[in-house]
């Protein structure tokens, strides 16, 4: 939101994605020319082409009162009345008479301008309030005396708000709130006012215009209807699949209060009529655990209109949610702590609003509130009940649909893998993955550092391999560990662990192709594997079966033995290339 950049951008705007043109008349007693380009750029970013009419300096009231003025000839869709508190100040100090009289006069003038506007145009009218300046005469005692400029402006703002409430056809833009948030101390720039009559400091001019633009966007149906939420590290700290119900940070554990607060804000949005959806890479049952059983969880399953927990790409899931709810992608905002997922969604679905989430969950609410995504120009009891109506419809539709093929998406990721024998340098991360992974972990044997070192040095019989993945979004580091043992033409899988973050992207297929190729190169005819069930690894129960293994035994405890003839293996399809040229040979 840099003033110069936004202004320059206004000269070369591409309107091809704009769905409509809105004619905006800007009536102000500061220099409108500084704001005009900002309106154009910011509205274009919101999908609206803006034609802007700016009143000449000092002619604001005349334009409104004269039915044959340029303002009415322009036939505006929106009239923005944005008066500067610094212009008001000149009038205040030269006003002769009671200070309360000044406030009443100004309120009356504003009312008569609204009436005149309404008489000559059907345009939507947006009235900004005044920035409350720091010109107290008695400090906090000001309010008792009622003479200072600060006091007068505060009174006037009350008058504007009241007038707007009474009339119902004027939209108030609470620009004083915006200024207060950014800091009134620096918002007004006295030098720039003297030099060029700028509405506020250049630095904040984009924020000032944006608070008006948000209302115009909302008037044109460009509002957020649905918040799509990730779960792990977004609604709670940690990973439910790995850390479990007791391990996630929510409530009094560590920074868990921050997540509670974020959920409270989301719940308030939901009660105001914004739909909440979940889109999480998780086992569906695991994902719902906190909603059902965590005592500190604020959001309940009933608060979530569409709940998607699976291993499909988030872009696919969000498109799916939009279809179910029958809302546009532009009406959705996607909240995810993971920069990779944000990148995927931004790339695949540019219409979806994807805010950069701060690292610290304590700042989540501030980040979301600051974006002012939930601007509206109307509100009724119907809005509040909307989320429930949608939810019923969504459940019906969810039962019927299935997903499109994500192949194109996978290709676009440009994934590259390093697949190598253990190296001392990487052992700490390898051991960490073996210790921490709960979901994609076929045996859960938790080999330690010393054991891993033994595998590493045993080149004759051990095949300990790690996988490291990168894609166009960045480096994921080590995301998989496979430990094999070769004896008498048989390769046994001693452990197979992968990070859930990268599942369903073809990494499993790549890895299995690799293992089989390794086996063949060593003259191995048969690969044996075993699945040992735990409370959390249900997702890999049939992993070897999916990869073409034959089930040879299943115990009453659920332990399954698998076998694959290497000659019968059909390579799995993936879209991953090998990172380094000699990586494959390095394993042996």
């Amino acid at each position: 939101m840099n003033y110069v950049d936004l202004t320059n951008a206004s000269r070369t705007l591409d309107y091809s994605d704009c769905t409509r043109t809105v004619r905006i008349a800007l009536i102000c007693d500061s220099t409108a020319q500084y704001m005009e380009p900002l309106f154009k750029t910011l509205l274009c970013q919101g999908g609206i082409r803006a034609d802007v009419y700016a009143s000449a300096y000092g002619t604001a009231e005349l334009e409104v009162l004269n039915p044959t003025s340029g303002l009415y000839a322009f036939e505006p869709d929106v009239v923005v009345l944005a008066n500067s508190v610094l212009a008001l100040r000149d009038r205040y100090y030269t006003f002769v008479g009671d200070r309360a009289r000044f406030v009443a006069d100004q309120t009356e003038i504003m009312g008569s301008l609204w009436t005149a506007l309404r008489a000559h145009t059907n345009a939507a009218i947006i009235q900004t309030n005044y920035i409350v300046p720091n010109e107290q005469l008695f400090g906090s005692y000001d309010d008792r005396v009622g003479v200072s400029f600060t006091w007068a402006v505060a009174q006037l703002n009350h008058g504007i708000a009241e007038g707007v409430r009474r009339r119902n056809d004027i939209y108030l833009c609470d620009i004083d709130h915006t200024a207060a948030y950014h800091g009134r101390k620096h918002w007004l720039d006295e030098k720039m006012w003297l030099l060029a009559k700028t509405f506020c400091a250049f630095e904040y001019l984009p924020h000032a215009v944006k608070s008006v633009v948000d209302i115009i966007l909302s008037l044109n149906g460009k509002s957020v209807k649905c918040v799509v939420l990730d779960l792990d590290n977004t609604l709670w700290g940690g990973i439910i699949g790995d850390d479990g119900l007791e391990g996630i940070r929510l409530g009094h554990l560590c920074d868990g209060e921050a997540f509670v607060r974020f959920q409270h804000f989301l719940r308030a949005l939901r009660q105001r009529g914004i739909l909440l959806a979940v889109c999480s890479k998780n086992d569906p049952e695991t994902a719902r655990l906190p909603f059902r059983h965590h005592p500190e969880m604020v959001l309940k399953e009933d608060d979530i209109t569409v709940f998607l927990a699976n291993w499909v790409s988030k872009a696919e899931n969000i498109r799916h949610i939009a279809d179910i709810l029958r809302i546009g992608l532009g009406a959705m905002v996607f909240i995810d702590d993971n920069p990779f997922e944000r990148g995927v969604v931004r790339d695949a679905l540019p219409e979806v609003i994807v805010p950069e989430l701060p690292e610290d969950p304590a700042d989540y609410v501030r980040c979301l509130a600051e974006l002012n995504l939930f601007e509206t120009t109307s509100y009724s009891a119907l809005d509040a009940g909307r989320a429930d109506l949608y939810r019923i419809e969504a459940q019906r539709q969810l039962a019927q649909r299935s997903f499109a093929n994500p192949e194109d998406h996978l290709k676009s990721l440009e994934m590259k893998i390093i697949c190598q024998r253990f190296e001392a340098f990487h052992l700490p991360r390898i051991v960490q993955l073996l210790q921490r992974s709960n979901q994609f972990n076929v045996l859960t044997r938790r080999f330690n550092q010393a054991q891993c070192e033994t595998f590493m040095h045993d080149t004759a019989n051990s095949l300990p391999v790690y996988l490291s993945l990168r894609d166009k979004y960045g480096d994921h580091g080590i995301i998989g560990v496979i430990i094999g043992r070769v004896d008498d033409q048989i390769l046994s899988i001693e452990e197979w662990v992968m990070s859930c973050r990268v599942l369903a992207r073809g990494v499993e297929q790549f890895a299995m192709n690799f293992v089989v190729a390794e086996a063949r190169a060593r003259g191995v005819e048969s690969i044996r594997a075993r699945y040992v069930p735990t409370a959390r690894n249900g997702m890999v129960k049939n992993f070897f079966g999916d990869m073409g293994f034959r089930r040879t035994n299943e115990s009453v405890e659920g332990v399954i033995d698998w076998e694959l003839e290497t000659s019968a293996y059909q390579p799995g399809i993936h879209f991953i290339s090998v990172d380094a040229g000699d990586a494959l040979h390095a394993v042996r």
Binding site: T7, N8, Q33, K191, M192, A196, F202, E203
Partner: protein, 81 residues
């Protein structure tokens, strides 16, 4: 900051504000020499310079500026104090 360090930075600000990627500044340049440098953009220019160099000019300092050379000297003085 010395004049030699100021000029490339100042040049960049001019290019940005006036959207002229090949604009070169000279000491004796005035508003008349740069297309688009009018009373409106003069103030934008001041804002952009203040941001870039982390300085604040007084109202009077801005008002008496005539040439690019004036600007360079003013920035020099401001960045030294």
């Amino acid at each position: 900051m010395q004049s030699a360090d100021i000029k490339p930075n100042l040049s960049a600000v001019f290019r940005q504000v006036f959207s002229q990627p090949s604009l070169d500044i000279q000491d004796d340049m005035t508003a008349a020499d740069v297309p688009g440098w009018d009373s409106l953009t003069h103030v934008t220019l001041v804002f952009a310079i203040e941001q870039r160099f982390g300085v604040k000019f007084s109202t009077r300092e801005v008002m008496v500026l005539k040439t690019v050379g004036d600007l360079v000297r003013l920035i020099e003085r401001k960045t030294q104090s």
